[in-house]
């Protein structure tokens, strides 16, 4: 049974990738299971400077999901390139996806260039959709013009495939996707989290200190699937489908909708073995559905 996929020339031993922000820098998981069974790893979002992120509490329980308002906590691009990447490459041979965020075009340029130059990095994933920081991320992901601008910058400074990670918090995701494709994006990742809120009704205040946060988890799967399908029907570039994926069946569904690879996010937080379980279950599910090569189902619906 063939489960290998190809993302812009980068071969993944299977389509399963833990999503950025739900797997740290990979190193945090090294004693949990052998990372080499993963198709790829999308690392924690990185900015030019080190960031603490938002104040706590920054997690809230939701029906079939959760809200996070971490706000891009990371050690900065230098530590990422000089320490995190080499340490991960020592224990992991699969695809490494660097997830880059920023607060200005200059910051995106500098961070994309440094990440792309790192020999360990196989794919650049440019996050223009983080809902948890003001003046950064999402500000670039909600306008087709700004999204195209960041895409051009990343494409200019990177010799590696550039994926743009899209926000669902827009009126027309297809318009943004097309703008990124036209600006030279090699691929797209979608979706990032949906802006959400919970209120502590006893204390009469928002549960997360930052008031709003990104909603993810199983509940968002139908929305993610719909958006992946819309973009797949409008664009030619390969997609990494993301949002609420929790089972091997979800992976098949996401690929039928148009994804070439599938990211698993919040599910990693409730089940540390989620990706391993999904990868182990995938051949059985394929065999039950009469799928011999996983590539045959990409975008068939």
């Amino acid at each position: 049974m063939a489960i290998e996929v190809n993302l812009c020339g980068v071969r993944l031993r299977n389509p399963i990738i833990p999503a950025s922000g739900t797997f740290g820098f990979g190193l945090e998981m090294k004693d949990v299971y052998d990372l080499n069974l993963l198709g790829g790893i999308s690392l924690k979002g990185t900015t030019r400077e080190a960031r603490f992120g938002n104040e706590c509490p920054r997690i809230a329980e939701c029906p079939d999901g959760m809200i996070n308002s971490v706000g891009l906590q990371n050690p900065g691009i230098e530590v990422f390139v000089n320490e995190k990447l080499p340490a991960l490459r020592k224990i992991y041979s699969g695809a490494i996806i660097a997830n880059i965020s920023g607060f200005s075009e200059d910051e995106y340029r500098e961070c994309c260039e440094k990440a792309a130059q790192a020999p360990e990095v196989d794919i650049l994933e440019v996050n223009i959709s983080c809902p948890n920081v003001h003046g950064g991320g999402l500000a670039f992901g909600t306008s087709a013009k700004a999204a195209a601008g960041i895409t051009r910058i990343a494409r200019e400074v990177s010799s590696k495939p550039v994926f743009i990670k899209l926000s669902p918090n827009v009126t027309d995701i297809v318009e943004i996707a097309r703008a990124c494709e036209d600006a030279g994006a090699d691929g797209l990742t979608l979706i990032n989290t949906l802006l959400g809120m919970r209120i502590d009704i006893v204390r009469r205040r928002p549960v997360v200190a930052n008031r709003y946060g990104g909603f993810s988890g199983r509940a968002v799967f139908p929305i993610a699937l719909r958006m992946v399908n819309q973009v797949a029907r409008a664009c030619k570039v390969p997609l990494m489908g993301c949002g609420g994926v929790a089972t091997a069946e979800d992976v098949v569904e996401m690929m039928m909708a148009g994804a070439t690879a599938v990211q698993v996010g919040a599910e990693n937080l409730r089940d540390p073995y989620a990706c391993k379980r999904i990868i182990e279950d995938l051949p059985g599910v394929m065999s039950r559905l009469g799928i011999k090569d996983i590539n045959e189902i990409i975008g068939i619906v």
Binding site: G24, V32, F52, D271
Partner: protein
Amino acid sequence: MKQVYLTVKSNEPIAAGTWKMVLEGDTSAVTGSGQFVNIALPGLFLRRPISVCDLSEGLLTLVYKVVGKGTDAMSAMAPGTRLDILTGLGNGFDASACESSALLLGGGVGTAPLVLLTRELRSRGKSVTVLLGFNRAGEEMLAAELEALGARVEIATLDGSKGTRGFVTDILHQKADGPDAIRYDYFYACGPMPMLKAVCGAIDAPGEMSLEERMGCGFGICYGCSCHTVNGPRRVCADGPVFKKEDLIWQSK
């Protein structure tokens, strides 16, 4: 970290709104006091982190306060229920840091991890004084267990309905001198943030404390529960929950 299935052996209320659950099974990943477990509960997305209260041959004791849907669901669990639990999470207290006399301070359900800590300190031959703070009489818990392990236990309640009126730090002020003065070279604290902050301000001796924060994963991958330390941001779940007094940077909120 080890994922195991533990079986509820007993589960009963021990104080107002507070329950004690004894779990049976593979507890091998739990290495000491101050660690916690993260419990998957039917119908809830995220696991619920609960500190280890006590540990003995294949038995794990949790003491938890019912504060929301998760702990409410736990309180309804009958003996025989099997639970999917991540065990052996967090760094835990350093019982070797105390030279001879330890001062333990617990606020509310923050008392829970002090039981196993007292057991560890007593087995090292240390003297142990435990100061416990609650809102009112009826909420006090685990005093008899702590005394049975050889600890001196003093209680404070905010409304004065049991023990000293006020906070645990008021007991300290009252018993600073005299024949029954509380002597210690190191402290360990667990309780709400304002209490921990007050304890750090009131005590000159070195010490460490266990922090509580809303967690996503509980094992260090989501960075949902970070705190500020002199060494930079640290994850409460994986780098803590226990931090040395001198390492913490208190945020004003």
